[in-house]
Symmetry: C2
Subunit: 325 residues, 2 copies
């Protein structure tokens, strides 16, 4: 950790990130759907150039690096969406990027990250290898800058632009400010950013079954990790063992109780997005929609649901479409 | 045909339709992709509320009906996307809608049209029943107003708003005016509208193999029909036997030679949209992208490709994803 990581993320940083992104990244659409007769609003972050909101935080972080830092290169750690965000931003800025990715990441995420010019280093996630140790070793060897997937003030601020953008779109359309924003939650970078961006909205983080460390941490008032026996999950993007202090410091007093969704609920949400929105949403990206469709969260006409990513292998998606549970 | 149908579609009508739609229909995104290293722009009309651009023309037509016409109800003829557009507009305006649809339309299109409150009357497309005769009979019985899927000046003007909207988005992003717009073509409603909306752009209609009546008509300088032996096609939305004079009058001097794409090229385009854009695009909706990916059309940095619709059955889409040709 360098000293600059000690600063807290702030709303001013979200505003600055929004301005930087507006130069070249068009707004993602805010799509209207009805759930049980109630209109709600889906923020389609799966339509970002890398297929996920992660491009926001990565750009905010990398574009703020000094020339000296840029010359040293960056190292990211990610199951795939942050990887692509960092690789995309690094290529655009001419920075060398190394990404530590799990060996069992979806093939499409590995391929896309490499296609964006990043060097990919695999670690053994199923075998329990510590990805942060792998990344720290590479950073030390290369004197490179670590770009953490969620425990970083720039990353949190960048992801928070999702919230500012949704609020602006709702204001333009005369809907009023968001009352509630429901978002998939892995390490809590997006949820913390949304909490800072929308101080008057309820923040509802949603995790997959067995990976509910945030829900348990919020209930306990302290950071807890998932157990060593956490089950396999299709929601690879949300497969984070524990949040970090920089995220939890924001969320502990702001987030609603965390929600948990089952694999069946996630698949149903993916099929809903397919047929009602004509969107490809990956399992982790569909977690918030799954909670909404399952009646686990209160909905009103100013509720926003984040569809956070759409990077999924064709064969896996075909199986979801063919499944009836 | 009532007398008002004799008027020609006009750019002024497109501007008026654009203003009417702007009140409640957000712009569809213009998404950047690279084909062979060349940036081009995809207009994602599959993200419209009914999953296709057809909502534009239907709204322009129905919202211009007189109170007397509204009371009599409307009749549409469609394989499914125009059906949903008419049903959606009719419900919003409180107009009774009857839609004549082929018995072999995709199940999702039949279900969606009924879910929007329209009465669906099936005709025997595989058996060669004349859908226009069925519609004319219903119109006579109910004194209802026919809303043709493409041979109608309002419909043409409404679909033309796709072009105005894309041009405005490109101007806002500093890209410059569209040089060329590549669009799936059934009866020619969209292509004719685009030609009127963008007088300085090349208009490239794309049809599926065996249903290339527009390409042959443009080559011959007169309207030709597909043969009685036209093959089955997955592009149900483009399965139109012949264009009409109101469309051809616009296109004969404006359109480039029509292009034809194969089933393999269409499936490849659907898979490209899945993995690169995270969009669900139906076969007919992917025809223009198929032409671009196959090198059949010149591309430059101001070429627009219309992804016209995304209503496809899950099982059919799963087969496309699983296919490697």
């Amino acid at each position: 950790m360098t000293a600059q990581h000690l600063r807290a993320p702030a709303p001013e940083g979200i505003a600055r990130a929004t301005a930087k992104l507006a130069d070249f990244l068009p707004e993602t659409p805010l799509l209207e759907i009805a759930i049980g007769g109630q209109t709600v609003w889906c923020k389609a972050e799966c339509l970002q150039p890398v297929g996920a909101f992660k491009i926001r935080g990565a750009w905010h972080r990398l574009s703020d690096l000094t020339d000296q830092e840029r010359a040293r290169g960056v190292v990211g750690v990610s199951s795939g969406n942050h990887a692509q965000g960092v690789a995309w931003a690094a290529r655009r800025l001419g920075i060398a990027a190394t990404i530590v990715m799990p060996s069992d990441a979806p093939a499409v995420k590995l391929a896309n990250t490499r296609a964006l010019g990043a060097q990919v280093v695999l670690y053994d996630r199923p075998g329990g290898e510590d990805r942060d140790e792998v990344a720290a070793r590479i950073c030390a060897e290369q004197s490179a800058v670590l770009v953490h997937a969620f425990a970083d003030p720039w990353i949190i601020e960048g992801q928070g632009t999702v919230g500012l953008e949704a609020a602006r779109q709702m204001a333009q359309r005369g809907i009023g400010a968001p009352t509630r924003i429901v978002a998939p939650c892995g390490g809590g970078g997006l949820s913390a950013g949304l909490a800072l961006a929308l101080p008057d909205a309820e923040i509802v983080p949603v995790e997959p079954e067995g990976w509910d460390d945030m829900a348990r941490s919020l209930a306990a008032g302290k950071i807890l990790s998932v157990g060593k026996d956490a089950p396999p999950t299709a929601c690879d993007a949300l497969q984070t063992p524990a949040t970090r202090e920089i995220n939890f410091a924001v969320l502990k007093d702001r987030a609603s109780p965390g929600l948990v969704v089952t694999p069946t609920e996630v698949r149903r949400a993916q099929r809903f997005a397919f047929s009602e929105l004509r969107l490809v949403v990956e399992p982790g990206g569909a977690a918030a929609l799954a909670a909404a469709l399952s009646g686990k969260v209160a909905l009103d006409g100013r509720t926003v649901i984040v569809l956070s990513g759409g990077n999924t292998d064709p064969a896996a998606f075909a199986r979801v479409l063919a499944s009836d549970n």
